[in-house]
Assembly symmetry: C2
Homo-oligomer: 195 residues x 2
């Protein structure tokens, strides 16, 4: 998505070898118009999948997921993060390890909001190692819901996330911006024409 790539190059900050900060428009300060455009792009891409529900994780997934839900006219459910590993009968849960923060969060979704009839679109802001996406998959699987695709805002294509997602059985993984590498503080995107 050219609009997003341009925004990343204009306002993203590359820190060190591996970190991209997009907190000025995506995950701390939010540009609502960009979010809406991304939501429409997700809706366009997944238009034929019969999506009945979007599943994401708090907090940074909420804005793009809600805009995609608006465009697809389906409800959005966000998994809540918790440090405590409480087990209850009424929640679907998964443990998600964050390589960035080196902590494990449990994510929880109320059973009432995902069922075996649902055709679920997973949405998240980043795909790096894929841990969050696999956690969302585990939750949808517990509900016996069908996962029809995964929509990612920014993919670090030089990390293992996409492969880990495919290995786990996810298909139809679509990223709005795919980063090939960071070079001299600049962001290089995967050239889609040459893939």
């Amino acid at each position: 998505m050219k609009e997003l790539e341009k925004r990343i190059q204009a306002d993203g900050r590359v820190l060190g070898k591996n970190i991209l900060k997009v907190d000025s428009f995506l995950n701390h300060q939010i540009d609502p118009q960009l979010m809406q455009d991304m939501g429409k792009e997700f809706a366009r891409f997944f238009a034929d999948e019969g999506v009945t529900k979007i599943l994401t994780i708090e907090a940074s997934g909420i804005a793009p997921a809600v805009m995609a839900g608006l465009a697809l006219d389906v409800p959005v459910v966000f998994g809540r993060k918790s440090k405590s590993q409480i087990l209850t009968d009424d929640a679907l849960t998964a443990d998600v390890y964050s390589y960035t923060k080196q902590t494990t969060n449990q994510i929880r979704v109320d059973k009432r909001f995902l069922t075996a009839d649902d055709r679920v679109l997973l949405i998240d802001d980043f795909l790096a190692n894929g841990q969050a996406l696999l956690g969302l998959k585990a939750i949808a699987d517990q509900a016996n819901a069908s996962i029809v695709g995964s929509g990612i805002v920014i993919e670090k294509a030089f990390q293992q996330g996409r492969q880990n997602a495919l290995d786990a059985g996810l298909t139809n993984v679509h990223s709005l911006a795919r980063i090939a590498a960071f070079e001299d503080g600049q962001v290089l995107f995967v050239n889609e024409e040459t893939e």
Copy 2:
């Protein structure tokens, strides 16, 4: 806002004397269309305030805030919650006590995203005791930003939040639904005509 009141009466669940669960459309599962309608209503109400930025708190404030930001065409900043009380030079912080969870979270906003030139609209999902709203005010005050109003989705008008907000100097507090009481598991709204 009649649409919201009807939705609360249809899908809200009153638990005990004092708790209203709206997790099927507001703060766990989200109805994107309702969020957009609420965002437009906030934008209509605060249209003449010259808002330059919306400030909210993760996670439940994000969806209504982003929709208001879309309608007002301004960026949205969400405060991040943290259990740790880390002080750094680059963050505006405030401690927020939750009566529901009986815990104190620090909320943090990067200094780059709020300045003395900003005219800030605070948005949150609930107003009960007002602690979150006062935390957002403290953060805006640290940036010497002007607060032009506060937009609340659901106000428990029988609690002290509004009075606490007014006592702290906040004005222009506008709630989309104002709950007068819970009676026999039913939600009674403040009758705006007789106020």
